[in-house]
Structures are given as structure tokens and as C-alpha cells.
Subunit: 110 residues, 2 copies
DNA sequence: CTCGAATATATCGATAATCGAGAGGTAACC
DNA sequence: GGTTACCTCTCGATTATCGATATATTCGAG
């Protein structure tokens, strides 16, 4: 599974996680799989980045965590997005679009 | 002049600089102005990030530096992209597009 | 003539996010 | 019994960005 190694992921992992949880509450491992499958491995949420990120988001009140049983019977920590997390998702999505627009302007300049 | 503060710039400054220098050789301060004007201040190349970045790119052989007179009569260091810098620009542009595509897939997932 | 704004380069330390490499453990399957 | 898939979590190293700061020159306004 290819890693980022470009540094581009920097600052967008939170957005990825918030967006993923806005679709459905799920546990960390499921987030990893979801992102890898959606992007054909272009983006990955590695444990070493994901769990700190989840802790960060929780600390900011944008997600909640609760232990549950996964469909496979094992215990897993389910993360759900909060109302303020949804607002944050909106903000970060806008920022991302602004960023991409600006980059496109630079990349197309003559 | 608004700063990034999202972390999104992380990893794309090199691309911005290479692309800018591919248009025309110029000095650091001119890069700062060029990027700010093109993007309406959405992206900035602050001195504290720019000069280390230029040094980094030079170390990799992607740009060259040479002292010259600026149109205003002051001495300035002019940076020019090299052939291998152009190749690197191509690679980084592709990576960026791949990244944006992947992000879009995540942001549009249902 | 003086003063501030614009031009221009550069360094330093703090910050913070990512990543690699694990460690630990359960369940299922061959 | 061994391997794979599932699932959480921590630690240290790395690295880029950023804010602040220093230095110096040129130009135009008052």
C-alpha cells in the first residue's frame, strides 16, 4: 500500500477523518480500510497518524468515542462525528477548496 | 496578508516554487509577490519558509542561484529552474493531481 | 533632508503533524 | 500449529512551516 511521502497529506488527515465519519460512525481500523479502498491506496490513514488524529479530534469536541462490538465480535472503539464536528467539516472543506483553487491558479499561470 | 494556518501548504511549497520559476527566473521576493498576487493572498511564500525551500531545491539540483541586479538596481539572487527541476516539477504536479483526485473521492463519498 | 515604506535576503527556535516500527491481543481459517 | 485478518495504541525521529527578527538599500513624500 503506497504511502504519501509527499507531505501533501499534512493537514488534510483531519478533513479525511471528519468526512469519513460524517458518512457513518466507525472504528479506526474501518476508517483505514475505507480511505484506502476509496482512493485505491493513494491516501492512507496509518495507525501512527490516525490514532493521534482521532485523539486530537476528540479533544476538540468534533468526534466522540465509545467502545462497542464490531460485526466480527471483537471489541472496537466507535467514533462518531458531533454537531460541532460537522461545522468543522464544513470549514475545512471550504478551506481545502480554496487551497486547491489557489494551487490551480499557480499551476496554470503563464 | 493571510497565512495558511491549515497545514495544507505543507509539502506543496516546493511545487509552487518550481512552477513559478518554470514561468520565469526570478528572485525570492518576486516569488513571494507573484504567489500572493496570483492567489489573492490565499497562498503565501513567507521568508521563513521560502528561503529554506529555495536552499532545499538548490541542494537537490532543481534550481540554480546567481546574484544579479534587480530592475530596481538592488542586488538580488535570481533563481532559475534546471532541466532536472522541470522533471521534478512534472512529478510533483502529477502527485498533486493524484492527491486532489483522491481527496475528491473521499469528500464525495456517500 | 529626513523618515517611512517598499525592496531584498537570511537565520533561528518553536511548533506540530506525519511516519515507521513496533507491541499487544483476539478470532478465524488452513 | 501457523498464518492471516482484525483492532488498538505508543514512541521516537523526521521535517516543513511559521513567527520573529536582523540587516541593508532605494525611493518618494513631506
Amino acid at each position: 500500500m503506497p504511502r504519501d511521502k509527499t507531505g501533501l497529506l499534512h493537514g488534510s488527515l483531519d478533513l479525511i477523518v471528519l468526512r469519513t465519519l460524517s458518512v457513518q460512525a466507525m472504528h479506526g481500523y474501518a476508517i483505514t480500510q475505507h480511505v484506502a479502498r476509496l482512493t485505491d491506496g493513494v491516501l492512507t490513514a496509518d495507525p501512527g497518524s490516525l490514532y493521534p488524529a482521532l485523539e486530537r479530534l476528540k479533544r476538540n469536541g468534533w468526534i466522540t468515542a465509545k467502545w462497542q462490538q464490531s460485526p466480527t465480535g471483537r471489541r472496537a472503539r466507535y467514533y462518531a462525528i458531533t454537531r460541532s464536528g460537522l461545522k468543522q467539516l464544513g470549514r475545512e472543506t471550504n478551506e481545502f477548496e480554496r487551497f486547491v483553487d489557489a494551487m490551480r491558479r499557480v499551476l496554470r499561470a503563464t
